[in-house]
């Protein structure tokens, strides 16, 4: 609906160049989102596993890095990354690492939460070794928020992109992304169309990765179901 409204908005205008600019901006945004999301998920899962399942020292180190990276607003961190990185791709790489820290924190927190909730006993009682318990039970459950975080990375990137353009802190020329186009558009329809395209792309990526997250959702058939209040109640009911 938003897409149709946007097309209606630009009807009567010079649609050709407008759509061309949108296509270029869309391509740059999608490439950026793909690089940042992939890197963020990879780095996030790796660091999250180390933080949530590894030695406490590494967890403390992760905490230190995450806290420092989050102590400044993402906008200012992004501006600094733009200042210190030599090119566009290296900036995306750095943003991927930055986002990866957020995802690692989510994963680590969830791993710890599940560990505390299970109190370490249930899975071992069911016959799993601690390692198997970690990789077959806790990690698949804990990775869900990390996947949601990854699915929202495109929206995160677009917000930063727009904020940097609004604040006029980044490079004045040479960047053509949806966020920059929305802010620096030459006409109102172009800006509206860029905003709408950004929302649609973010929503599409969110839905896509969320669907992937659901297909990975535990429990799977190889893992015994946990003993829960509901299962206990149903067992009591069946006994009665």
């Amino acid at each position: 609906v938003l897409g149709i409204l946007s097309l209606l908005a630009i009807a009567g205008q010079n649609a050709g160049p407008l759509l061309g600019a949108q296509a270029i901006a869309l391509r740059a945004t999608l490439i950026g989102a793909a690089i940042v999301s992939t890197l963020a998920l990879g780095v996030g899962v790796l660091l999250g596993v180390v933080g949530g399942g590894g030695p406490r020292l590494l967890d403390a180190l992760l905490r230190l890095v995450v806290e420092l990276s989050g102590a400044l607003p993402s906008l200012l961190t992004a501006v600094f990354l733009l200042s210190v990185t030599p090119g566009w791709f290296s900036t995306l790489f750095a943003l991927g690492l930055l986002r990866g820290l957020d995802i690692a924190w989510l994963l680590r927190s969830e791993l710890i939460r599940i560990e505390r909730a299970e109190r370490g006993g249930i899975a071992r009682n069911l016959g799993h070794t601690p390692l198997a318990s970690f990789f077959r039970r806790r990690l698949p459950r804990a990775v869900q928020p990390a996947l949601i975080g990854t699915s929202l990375t495109c929206a995160w990137l677009l917000t930063l992109d727009s904020a940097v353009s609004v604040a006029a802190l980044g490079p004045r020329q040479g960047l053509s992304t949806l966020g920059a186009l929305a802010v620096n558009a030459s006409s109102a329809p172009q800006a509206v169309f860029a905003v709408m395209t950004g929302i649609v792309v973010s929503a599409a990526l969110y839905v896509l990765i969320r669907a992937l997250a659901r297909t990975q959702s535990p429990p799977n058939s190889s893992v015994s179901p946990p003993v829960t209040q509901r299962s206990l109640r149903s067992a009591e009911a069946s006994q009665e």
Binding site: A71, P73, V79, F80, I148, T159, L169, A213
Partner: protein, 478 residues
């Protein structure tokens, strides 16, 4: 939260702020170099940012200028000006080195030093215009006065004149010229009473004479204006003091850190008020003026956003999709309807819109995380208060992460609506390379974010350690 935990977290926040200050300072410098060509407006641009491997000092500058003048190099005229600027601070290094120069070079240097003798009141204008007269003059001067060029002697003379003015003592200090500057600056002290004003007037008179800068306290000046004047002299000393000081032994090692831009900022911030901004106010006043609306908005966004996310998640859990959809649409509708608020109600309207938009987007984001976490346990999460605790535990880690992005959005909206908030002000300071304003604002924002993160951490720790998802082990065993 125990007292020990609170103390540990406070220390941790202080440590994090130190690291953030280094990052923010480095970011400011790099941003200036990348997007403003160079940090051309910075008076400290000759200094390295964090480590100064070769700190400048009076000896190096004086000897380099002396060699240049003696050998009549192409930059000799600049070197002569440098010797005059260094004044008395150069004499303990240049005059004993006369013997190392050939007679022609010695004559050139002696003549180049004559403006200093005029400033000291030792020679009249136009006297001693030949090298034959100038060299014996300086040789005699050093034989007579070398004993006065010692830090202890200078400190004693300056402290006496700070206490009470005597023409003879003024003359003594005048003969030391810029060599006495560090002691004079140190004696400026704080300004509270009219006696302090009189002392500063005496001392700034000396400083005005040796530097040529017209910054002297007027007769009958108020303590407030005198304080500003003292601060100006301290700033001058921060920027150029090393040129008039000699660094030996431990002082040279210390100067590797203190003679940097970061240390100069720290020094300015430590003098009170976090230093002066470009508009002349203290950075603390600057932050206080701009932070009220911004911090209130951030707090409202986080509280409303978290509440909204919990309600949203709960409605989804109850399988009342139509209710959650209705809530979502209402929130979106209210936000869009509030779009004219900034135009209609100015600053308050602007912040109202920012809070609504931030709470809506924050609520949506946090609810997705909470839902993803909570969906896994919704069979087991109990009811009522237990379920609320489970929801809070799930939202804990995401609040801190959301706060960083929320402030980014807030900064952009403050700029877009022209609101005088902390974020917009910080961005303006970054663009204008206003070091003191930028650092004060960046640290205020960082402190807010760190506090939010620690509070969300406490919420997470307090709610995630309870046996709510699965049965207790003893129950499971039974």
């Amino acid at each position: 939260v125990t007292l020990r935990d609170a103390l540990r977290r406070s220390l941790w926040i202080a440590f994090a702020l130190v690291i953030v200050s280094i990052i923010a300072f480095w970011g400011l410098v790099r941003y200036g170099e990348r997007y403003r060509g160079t940090s051309e407006a910075t008076p400290l641009r000759h200094l390295p940012v964090f480590v100064n491997a070769e700190p400048r000092n009076a000896r190096d500058l004086a000897l380099a200028a002396m060699r240049s003048v003696a050998q009549d190099r192409p930059d000799a005229s600049a070197a002569k000006a440098q010797l005059v600027r260094l004044g008395g601070a150069a004499l303990p290094h240049v005059l004993p080195a006369f013997d190392t120069l050939d007679s022609t070079g010695r004559g050139r240097v002696a003549l180049a030093l004559m403006p200093i003798a005029e400033r000291m009141g030792l020679a009249g204008r136009g006297e001693l215009t030949s090298a034959e007269a100038a060299v014996p003059f300086w040789t005699r001067f050093w034989q007579d006065r070398a004993i006065d060029y010692r830090p202890q002697v200078v400190r004693r003379v300056v402290s006496r004149i700070a206490e009470r003015s005597f023409a003879l003592r003024r003359e003594d200090i005048q003969h030391l010229d810029t060599y006495a500057m560090s002691a004079v600056i140190a004696e400026l002290g704080s300004v509270e009473t009219s006696e302090d004003v009189a002392r500063v007037r005496r001392l700034t008179g000396i400083l005005e004479h040796v530097t040529g800068l017209p910054w002297r306290a007027e007769r009958g000046a108020s303590p407030e204006s005198t304080r500003k004047l003292v601060e100006r002299w301290h700033t001058f000393w921060d920027e150029q003091g090393a040129d008039f000081s000699t660094l030996d032994g431990p002082r040279r090692v210390t100067a590797m850190v203190t003679e940097t831009r970061y240390a100069k900022w720290l020094s300015a911030a430590g003098r009170g008020g976090l230093g002066r901004t470009h508009d002349g106010r203290t950075a603390f006043e600057h932050v206080r003026e701009h932070s009220r609306g911004t911090l209130a908005a951030v707090l409202a966004i986080l509280v409303l956003g978290t509440t909204l996310s919990l309600i949203w998640t709960r409605l989804e859990e109850l399988d009342t999709l139509h209710r959650s959809t209705r809530l979502a649409l209402s929130a979106v509708g209210i936000t869009f309807a509030s779009l004219p608020l900034p135009a209609l109600y100015g600053v308050r309207g602007g912040y109202a819109f920012i809070v609504l938009a931030g709470a809506l987007s924050g609520g949506a984001l946090i609810s997705r995380y909470v839902r993803a976490t909570h969906r896994l346990a919704d069979d087991n999460a109990g009811t009522g208060r237990l379920r609320l605790r489970t929801l809070l535990a799930a939202s804990g880690p995401t609040i801190g992460l959301h706060a960083s992005l929320a402030i980014s959005g807030l900064i952009a909206l403050e700029i877009a609506f022209g609101l005088p908030g902390l974020g917009a002000s910080a961005v303006a300071a970054l663009r204008a390379h206003d070091v003191n304003a930028w650092m004060a604002e960046a640290l205020s924002i960082a402190l807010s974010l760190l506090l939010v993160r620690h509070i969300s951490d406490v919420v997470f720790a307090a709610t995630s350690g309870t046996p709510r998802v699965f049965l207790d082990e003893d129950q499971a065993a039974s």
